[in-house]
């Protein structure tokens, strides 16, 4: 990565999350317009985040839930509260 791109790259997640002021966004967008490497960098990061979110669902076995509820029932049945 070019040294000139680094200062933008460091803030690219904040840019993606909409957490930057308008003037900084404009500077980043101006840089993106003329830098294909940074455009690819931004796009790949966005796709990584989307991919991780889409793959996030976990199948929790019903037994795990049953064991948890059993523990809670034991707790409620005790005098610990």
């Amino acid at each position: 990565m070019k040294a000139s791109c680094r200062k933008y790259f460091q803030r690219i997640s904040e840019y993606l999350d909409g957490e930057l002021d308008v003037d900084i966004c404009e500077k980043i967008e101006a840089h993106l317009d003329r830098c294909p490497e940074c455009r690819e960098c931004l796009d790949s990061l966005r796709r990584t985040i989307e991919l991780c979110k889409k793959a996030a669902a976990e199948e929790i076995p019903a037994e795990a839930s049953q064991r948890l509820h059993m523990k809670i029932k034991e707790f409620l049945g005790s005098d610990s509260m």
């Binding site: 990565m1 957490e19 790949s44 989307e50 979110k53 793959a55 996030a56 929790i60």
Partner: protein, 202 residues
């Protein structure tokens, strides 16, 4: 259910508990067990550990629910307890100290990076095998994240907490959340991309 409706339900359940309803506790568990178990699994990588985290979270929450003043949302409070349980569990296992992720080690050179291979997630149920393989790669990459980065990534990108909420849950600054999240994302991009590039070269 949107956030406001969800908060209202939480408020009603807490009020019911304070009025003596034990059933309200069961309903709180039902509302949040999947999210807490999933968080535990993503943090620890093992179902047994995720169950320990969930048990500790709910039992600890119920001990203090009577004095819970709702200055914070119930789900944020539960995740704060769960995150602390994850940190304690890691300490008990006497793991090595967290490695720092240095951006310079992930992004080097002055020339073109050679592109990133980030596959798309298929929503087609017939792609089950492909999805399972991809999920395994992503889960392994998340597990490879140093613990403090994994905490931030899971809370921000997977659980959808804001930067400020994540900062409050972990009791760190908003700037630390932003820095860790950015490094975690870059780390994951490199891991996933290099996995698929290696696959192409095999």
């Amino acid at each position: 259910m949107n956030d406001t409706a969800s908060d209202t339900t939480d408020h009603q359940l807490i009020a019911a508990f304070k009025a003596g309803s034990m059933e309200a506790l069961e309903r709180i568990v039902k509302r949040y067990e999947k999210r807490i178990l999933t968080f535990g699994l993503k943090m620890c990588g093992r179902l047994q550990d995720a169950e320990d985290i969930a048990q500790e979270t709910f039992l600890s929450a119920f001990r203090y629910l009577e004095s819970f003043r709702e200055e914070t949302k119930l789900r944020n409070w539960l995740f704060k307890i769960a995150a602390n349980a994850c940190i304690r569990k890691r300490r008990k296992k006497k793991c090595e100290p967290d490695q720092e992720i240095a951006l310079d080690s992930l992004v080097q050179g002055d020339g073109p990076s050679g592109g990133y291979e980030i596959p798309d997630w298929s929503d087609d149920p017939s792609d089950r095998l492909l999805r399972a393989e991809l999920k395994e790669t992503i889960d392994a990459a998340i597990q490879a994240l140093p613990h403090k980065y994994r905490l931030v990534f899971n809370l921000r990108d997977i659980e959808g907490f804001s930067t400020q909420e994540t900062a409050e849950i972990l009791r760190i600054s908003a700037q630390s959340v932003k820095t860790r999240l950015h490094r975690a994302r870059v780390f994951l991009r490199e891991k996933i991309s290099s996995h698929y590039k290696e696959g192409e070269n095999r």
